[in-house]
């Protein structure tokens, strides 16, 4: 049964209701830093790290290293105790961050402190957004995110059907709300999501959870083909870990690649030994070179050895 059948006849859909469309002529009343960062830096690199892994001070150094290394957008994970969309790598990072005492307050103070070229997004689960204020309400979180200078929000457990309250608050405060498009997202659902998305569409490369993989899934190519008709930047994540993956994904029509677990692996390997930042910077540079290779078909020149 489709959702459209349920509305009483003669009643107009509210924005974001099942079957509702954001009219194409009505653009958000703000300039999207996120969309600009992807379009202007094509092919874009979006880097993810979990805030507070292993400490908020380390995260500051890692984010700045990724920014230097060529990340065009940086996604910061605000840890939630039940990360159902994450694989073992990011789940472990979230556990480390929680054990280190990471709180939403600490997270926002970190963002207050950060000065990066790349706009910053927060990735977290819906309950964390709801609980930021005294009542179960999304607004205090969005207000604080805007105040801290975040440019957008990604919520892995918030499908378009449930997103009205957050969509409204984000519109009001000039934040992008990025939706995930899965390999199972097709037809009406795809239309519905693409009419709500802002910043970019997060294309999930394969079914399952996050985690570095050895190859690029054929589902990625199918998803990008389905999305080619929509004029929204598309970035592919879930399983991207190497420059060659980035090249293949960009060549298949993506505007950007999203890399998380491969970066978190570097942080986990180095622990707090102080070398993680340099390794992250080098990895970002490798991924960005790979992406460029995918866009131009040519090898970018190797960077000078530090």
């Amino acid at each position: 049964m489709s959702g459209e059948d349920r509305r009483p006849k003669g009643e107009e859909p509210r924005n974001g209701e099942r079957g509702a469309k954001r009219p194409a002529s009505v653009e958000p009343a703000y300039d999207s830093d996120v969309e600009a960062a992807i379009r202007e830096n094509y092919p874009a690199l979006i880097a993810y790290v979990t805030a507070g892994d292993p400490s908020l001070a380390d995260t500051k150094a890692y984010v700045e290293a990724l920014d230097r290394g060529g990340a065009d957008l940086i996604e910061l994970g605000l840890p939630f105790s039940e990360p159902i969309a994450e694989g073992p790598t990011i789940q472990a990072a979230i556990n480390r961050a929680l054990e280190a005492g990471t709180t939403p307050q600490g997270f926002f103070e970190l963002v207050d402190d950060l000065e990066t070229e790349a706009p910053l997004l927060v990735m977290t689960y819906y309950n964390m957004i709801l609980q930021y204020g005294p009542e179960a309400d999304v607004r205090p979180f969005v207000e604080r995110a805007a105040e801290a200078g975040l440019s957008g929000i990604i919520v892995p457990d918030l499908p378009a059907e449930e997103a009205d309250p957050l969509r409204d608050a984000c519109d009001e405060h000039g934040l992008d709300l990025v939706f995930i498009v899965a390999p199972t997202t097709e037809g009406d659902r795809l239309d519905r999501i693409m009419s709500q998305v802002s910043g970019f569409a997060y294309v999930q490369a394969r079914l399952g959870t996050t985690g570095a993989r050895a190859n690029v899934s054929t589902a990625t190519h199918d998803s990008l083909a389905r999305l080619s008709a929509y004029d929204v930047p598309k970035a592919v994540g879930f399983g991207v870990s190497e420059g060659d993956h980035a090249a293949e994904i960009i060549e298949a029509g993506a505007d950007g690649v999203i890399v998380g677990s491969a970066l978190v692996d570097i942080i986990a390997e180095h622990g707090a030994d102080g070398d993680a930042a340099a390794a992250l910077e080098a990895k970002a540079a490798e991924l960005k070179r790979g992406a460029r290779r995918g866009a131009t078909g040519e090898d970018a020149p190797e960077p000078e050895q530090p």
């Binding site: 039940e82 309950n127 709801l130 930021y132 899965a182 199972t184 999930q204 079914l207 959870t209």
Partner: protein, 452 residues
């Protein structure tokens, strides 16, 4: 509008008042729509005779209907009529089969090839493994490491029925972590796999689907008590963890209320309290409705406080002490810290040990139709021993909470009381022996006399 039309309209909604919804990763949304479609067609409309086959199998394989037994010695002890709904006599030893068989059969009708499920106490895992064996479906069960250690007989039963049991070591290794891991499996294999969720929790349509399969408990009990006592009970008492035996026992009684505030349906219960002054029996063309109190007994554990620093709740009293939030696909009441992290719950009963609760139950509590109460570990253990000793029925530790409440508060429950014995306690014997030895329980036998 007829009752069935009203039910149809209500069932087309994704929420119960402010609770419910579908808060899941995008990859799962098409599967939820597919399930919603199957629920409408097969469960509501009985397409292809689905519900007929389900009822036949519940009769022949599952052992339904279960008796409503008058508990003579409890009735004498409390000086009122106490009836026990004997879900412990369902095949597998608990009400869980009602839902597991329904969902595995539904998965088969939907053309799914593989069954996955989570389990806490192991009763749902056992029921799912039995149903999958009965219907010839491959089955994998996720179970927390702590629960595997405290519910070993059920682990063996699942494996004997051909299911794989996957241990989950994250967090405290209980039901919450098992659900997370099952959701991850489902997000990877969603196209061919059905996730048999074990309680009235999770994203729409699971809370309604599970409730409908479980509502046979209350439907039978309602007819049986009218037959035996010639009237409806004053109260129905059931334990509440996730809430599947609770909703199963309560659902048919939700409209039974002399209070017009609740007369129409559960979702129209927001009217002014002035309405509730003019209590009138509802005339629905059937019989005048009598008032039935619905009492959900939660695990009070060792304390009702949350230890914020440790992220622990020494209880599982979500309806009584929880706050609104989103966990495992639904907006509901949760045991959580102020900043939104979910706390580890505790109960002596693995089956109640969960930080969330079904969204419909949260709504019924919020609108005043269901009263949540708590019973601590010790009172539950006494309830366990008392029923074993007085009536020759060894109840599950989950159900023992309802029996503990009966002991403490029978004066408030009226003249005719139905207690749902949601399962049998064989699985809990190791825990009960261990926990009994730590305490001086008035209802427990002296086990030491057997040691020498």
């Amino acid at each position: 509008m007829s009752t069935s039309e009203r039910n149809r309209e209500r069932d087309s909604e994704r929420t119960f008042g402010d609770y419910g919804g579908q808060y899941v990763p995008e990859a799962l949304m098409p599967a939820l729509q597919e399930l919603e479609d199957a629920y409408e067609r097969y469960v509501i409309e009985n397409e292809d005779g689905f519900m007929d086959e389900f009822r036949d199998r519940m009769r022949d394989f599952g052992g339904r209907p279960t008796p409503l037994q008058r508990a003579d010695r409890l009735s004498e002890r409390y000086d009122r009529e106490i009836y026990l709904k004997r879900e412990d006599l369902v095949h597998g030893g608990a009400h869980k089969l009602n839902n597991a068989l329904g969902q595995v059969l539904l998965a088969k009708y939907m053309g799914k090839e593989r069954i996955i499920a989570e389990t806490g106490a192991g009763q749902h895992g056992t029921a799912t493994a039995m149903a999958a064996a009965h219907l010839d479906m491959p089955c994998e069960i996720y179970m927390g490491r702590t629960d595997i250690n405290r519910q070993r007989p059920n682990v063996y039963r699942m494996r004997m029925n051909g299911a794989e049991v996957n241990p989950v070591t994250a967090g405290s290794g209980t039901l919450k972590e098992a659900i997370n891991e099952t959701m991850r499996d489902w997000a990877t294999t969603v196209e061919r796999t059905h996730y048999v969720i074990g309680s009235v929790v999770g994203p729409h349509p699971f809370p309604k689907l599970v409730r409908d399969f479980q509502s046979v408990i209350g439907r039978e009990a309602r007819a049986q008590i009218q037959d035996r006592a010639g009237r409806l009970p004053d109260s129905v008492v059931a334990c509440a963890g996730g809430g599947s035996n609770t909703m199963g026992a309560f659902h048919e009684f939700v409209p039974d209320c002399a209070n017009p505030r609740f007369a129409d349906d559960s979702s129209s219960a927001e009217r002014s309290s002035a309405d509730s002054q003019a209590a009138q029996p509802r005339d629905d063309g059937d019989e005048p409705r009598e008032h039935v109190d619905l009492v959900a007994v939660e695990a009070g554990g060792s304390s009702l406080e949350i230890d914020e620093a440790a992220g622990l709740a020494p209880n599982s009293a979500t309806l009584s002490t929880g706050t609104d939030g989103v966990l495992h696909g639904a907006m509901t009441k949760l045991l959580q810290q102020g900043d939104g992290q979910i706390v580890e719950s505790h109960s002596v009963s693995a089956g109640l040990d969960y930080a969330g609760v079904g969204p419909e139950l949260a709504h019924l509590v919020e609108t005043g139709r269901v009263t949540p109460v708590t019973v601590d570990d010790e009172a539950a253990l006494n309830g366990f021993h008392r029923l074993s000793n007085l009536e020759g029925i060894i109840p599950a530790l989950e159900s023992s909470h309802a029996l503990g409440y009966l002991e403490e508060s029978h004066d408030e429950l009226g003249d005719v009381v139905v207690v749902n014995v949601s399962g049998r306690g064989d699985k809990d014997l190791e825990t009960v022996l261990e926990e009994t030895e730590k305490r001086d329980l008035e209802a427990a036998p002296d086990v030491e006399v057997f040691d020498g």
